[in-house]
């Protein structure tokens, strides 16, 4: 089930350093885009490697005459192979933005392409669809929007039977969806949501993955929480099917699951109708999936699992904040302490492979432990306090979250604090008090306060280990003064 994912990064001719540099550049660009709320990514399916150096078959930019010629050949050629060949040449040319611009400026070109898309020659259809796909991938809005006349047909073909073709249509639609609100304003009345809901019954894994991709693009749209999710998505059978795709078992496909987990995340964090999802069993499905992930992490060295872990953690964390969790008995669904064990296994995995995801894992831990004496007890009985403390040096954000989780445990009373001391906690706190970050120190003070309150013996040891000096360092800090003073008083009186 969790077999090694096929390597999907292209092995280009350039070296590893070059790849790393490109990746860093792209990452920086993505961060910038996200901060500007312009995070748009498209997927490209291409069956031949276009720029292999030395092969000599680099696709050339096509001029207007050539484009016209290829279109005419494809449309009116006598030999089938000739027609197909013309479209293949066109498609290769369309890999270049210049050719794309030339194409869309040519009168009647899209009309011809759509005609070929709906023709009675199956292979012509496929090639025409591939041309359309190249166009849909363009970063230029004008090019992508030029594909609009084809959308009603792309949607119609989603209920056809050829899985390759459906897959291509779905990726093309996914690329178009993310292009602009104008495009979505056309696709929604054209029935994209019911078409996707019908298509989700397909047994083909490739189709499902493509569908998940298209759907995730739709749900990521800015207007989705108001205009798309409440009316279309939640009214359809999509949520139930999505959850089915996420159920662990022999049928679970990682590529498909990743897409639908992200879909679910976009729906849940829109906070439109989460009780409905809880009613469909989202919590227990996701909980079981988390267990499954932890099991997989232990078995394989696969670095692709965090792509699935991230949205699953987010979904669970956000769902746990719903009031319905208490009333609908949702908390019951998620009482299994294996969830805590699984989470820590994932935290360790993140620590080694993807530290940037530690905050998300700790977020779930916070939401699990905040109102649950049972989970807090599990932390103690499974000996997880020390591993938690080992995360403190990672970053300030992580430190604050670790300390928050510890506060969740400590605030439950003396029975809990007794298990926190003696032990590594106090030395760790003395260490974090030396941090300069105000939030870290502030959270440390909160934890100290709880510890002193419920476990007064700790005060003495605190004093012996130069605790007062550690506190003094922050006496002048506006946000910390009051609490520092209060603790100093407690320590001196104790």
């Amino acid at each position: 089930m969790w077999s090694r994912r096929q390597g999907r990064l292209r092995p280009t001719v350039c070296g590893v350093e070059e790849l790393r540099r490109r990746r860093r550049e792209r990452e920086a660009a993505l961060r910038k885009a996200r901060r500007e709320q312009q995070l748009v990514s498209k997927r490209l399916l291409r069956n031949d490697a276009p720029e292999e150096a030395g092969e000599g078959c680099v696709a050339a930019i096509l001029g207007e005459t050539e484009v016209q010629q290829f279109l005419r050949q494809a449309q009116r050629g006598t030999e089938e192979k000739e027609r197909e060949g013309a479209l293949v040449s066109l498609r290769r040319g369309l890999q270049h933005p210049e050719t794309q611009q030339t194409f869309i400026r040519l009168e009647g070109s899209m009309r011809t392409l759509v005609g070929l898309l709906t023709s009675n020659q199956a292979l012509l259809q496929l090639e025409a669809a591939r041309c359309l796909h190249e166009l849909s991938h363009s970063e230029q809005s004008t090019v992508a929007e030029a594909c609009l006349p084809a959308t009603s047909y792309l949607l119609t073909y989603l209920s056809s039977h050829s899985s390759d073709f459906i897959e291509l249509c779905l990726y093309t639609l996914g690329n178009l969806i993310v292009e602009s609100e104008a495009v979505r304003r056309q696709l929604l009345p054209q029935g994209i949501v019911p078409a996707l809901a019908a298509c989700i019954q397909s047994p083909h894994v490739a189709v499902l993955e493509a569908l998940g991709y298209a759907l995730s693009q739709l749900l990521q749209a800015e207007e989705a929480p108001e205009k798309i999710i409440p009316s279309s998505i939640l009214a359809s059978t999509l949520p139930q099917h999505m959850l089915q795709m996420l159920q662990p078992g022999p049928k679970l496909n990682p590529g498909v699951a990743v897409e639908f987990a992200w879909c679910l995340h976009y729906i849940i964090c829109s906070q439109v109708s989460n009780p409905l999802l809880i009613g469909h069993g989202a919590l227990s499905t996701l909980g079981l999936l988390l267990l499954d992930l932890a099991g997989a992490v232990q078995k394989t060295e696969d670095a692709g699992l965090e792509l699935l872990a991230c949205p699953v953690l987010r979904c669970l964390s956000n769902l746990l904040t719903e009031a319905a969790v208490e009333t609908v008995g949702g908390q019951m669904q998620l009482r299994d302490e294996r969830v805590v064990a699984a989470l820590f296994i994932l935290l360790q995995f993140f620590f080694q492979k993807q530290p940037s995801l530690l905050p998300e894992g700790l977020w779930l831990l916070n939401n699990l432990t905040a109102n649950s004496p049972s989970f807090c007890t599990s932390l103690l009985s499974l000996d997880l306090i020390e591993p938690l403390l080992q995360l403190l040096p990672v970053s300030n954000v992580v430190s604050v979250m670790v300390l928050t989780v510890l506060c969740n445990v400590a605030e439950k009373g003396p029975a809990y604090c007794q298990r926190l001391w003696p032990g590594p906690l106090l030395p760790a706190l003395l260490h974090t008090l030396a941090f300069s970050d105000t939030e870290v120190v502030g959270q440390s003070l909160e934890l100290l306060h709880l510890l002193f309150l419920y476990q007064p013996e700790a005060v003495q040891v605190f004093l012996q280990q130069s605790g007062l000096q550690a506190l003094e360092r922050h006496q002048e800090e506006a946000q910390l003064q009051d609490r520092v003073y209060a603790l100093q008083q407690t320590a001196l009186q104790g």
Partner: protein
């Protein structure tokens, strides 16, 4: 980060919740200046907290470029021809054949040979073009169903339906799978520019001549609804099936049997469709 060795065992063991330790809060715990309150936190979609995970997700999306090596080579087989009557396409790869079959022969109207992308559209077509009962009923009630998936609106005429699809669903006015029913004589085109359209890779026409589907007297059409498979029909289907099975193509064989439902029992393969109709009415020649 070191995990206790018993943790993996706990994961592997059965479900269970820890018996919670007794909770006993002192009011002084939340007293000023201390302000900690244990509470679950929620983050809305645009929150900065999600930045790292989102960036990774998008890097993944952008990285997906299918490699030639990843896509398994199309298995090649000795060249074979499509066995459907009147179709002479030759293939040397099963994938190509699959796509061809689905596109051209998958949802074919037995009366006029038009192929449709889905069973849904084919059913609508048969109903509206070849069923005289439909014609009669449509005089009294709204029978033309909207073709968009998920829309249940019905209309009195196909014109009204088209208007609806254009206005409400933003479909193109010349949507290729919603041609208005042709009149008997092929010379009379409905709309200007109709014949002009035809030359642009006409949708799914297999017959070279436009076939006028002549309306038959009321009682007769019901024959086509009878789903049993007659002997005349079964034999060529089975021949085709064995060819396909030899090619290891059992799905296509199964498909053939399933799709046979669409084709009236009175139609037989390879022998000229016209023979099947038990009608004494004169028919235009089928190809």
């Amino acid at each position: 980060m070191q995990l206790p060795p018993a943790l993996c065992a706990r994961l592997a063991a059965g479900p269970g919740a820890a018996e919670p330790l007794p909770v006993e809060r002192d009011p002084a715990a939340g007293a000023a200046p201390f302000r900690f309150v244990a509470r679950p936190v929620r983050f809305p979609r645009e929150h900065q907290f999600f930045e790292d995970g989102d960036v990774q997700r998008h890097l993944y999306l952008q990285d997906v470029i299918m490699q030639v090596a990843d896509v398994p080579e199309k298995p090649r087989v000795p060249a074979f021809a499509c066995q459907v009557a009147g179709c002479c396409q030759v293939f040397d790869a099963l994938d190509d054949y699959e796509h061809h079959y689905h596109t051209l022969h998958g949802n074919v109207c037995s009366f006029c040979k038009r192929a449709f992308p889905s069973g849904h559209l084919l059913d609508a077509h048969i109903l509206e073009w070849h069923d005289s009962l439909f014609q009669i009923l449509s005089e009294r009630q709204d029978m033309y169903q909207c073709l968009v998936e998920g829309c249940t609106e019905k209309f009195k005429t196909s014109r009204d339906r088209k208007d609806h699809m254009v206005r409400m669903h933003l479909y193109p006015a010349d949507f290729r799978f919603d041609k208005p029913k042709k009149s008997r004589s092929p010379a009379s085109a409905e709309a200007p520019g109709d014949s002009g359209e035809r030359s642009e890779g006409e949708a799914m026409e297999i017959c070279s001549e436009p076939v006028a589907a002549s309306p038959a007297p009321a009682g007769e059409r019901r024959i086509y609804r009878h789903r049993s498979v007659s002997e005349l029909f079964l034999k060529p289907v089975l021949n085709m099936c064995s060819v396909l099975r030899i090619l290891g193509c059992t799905w296509a064989a199964a498909l053939l049997i399933l799709n046979s439902e669409r084709i009236p029992s009175t139609i037989c393969f390879g022998q000229g469709a016209a023979r099947g109709f038990k009608s004494n009415k004169k028919k235009t020649k089928q190809c």
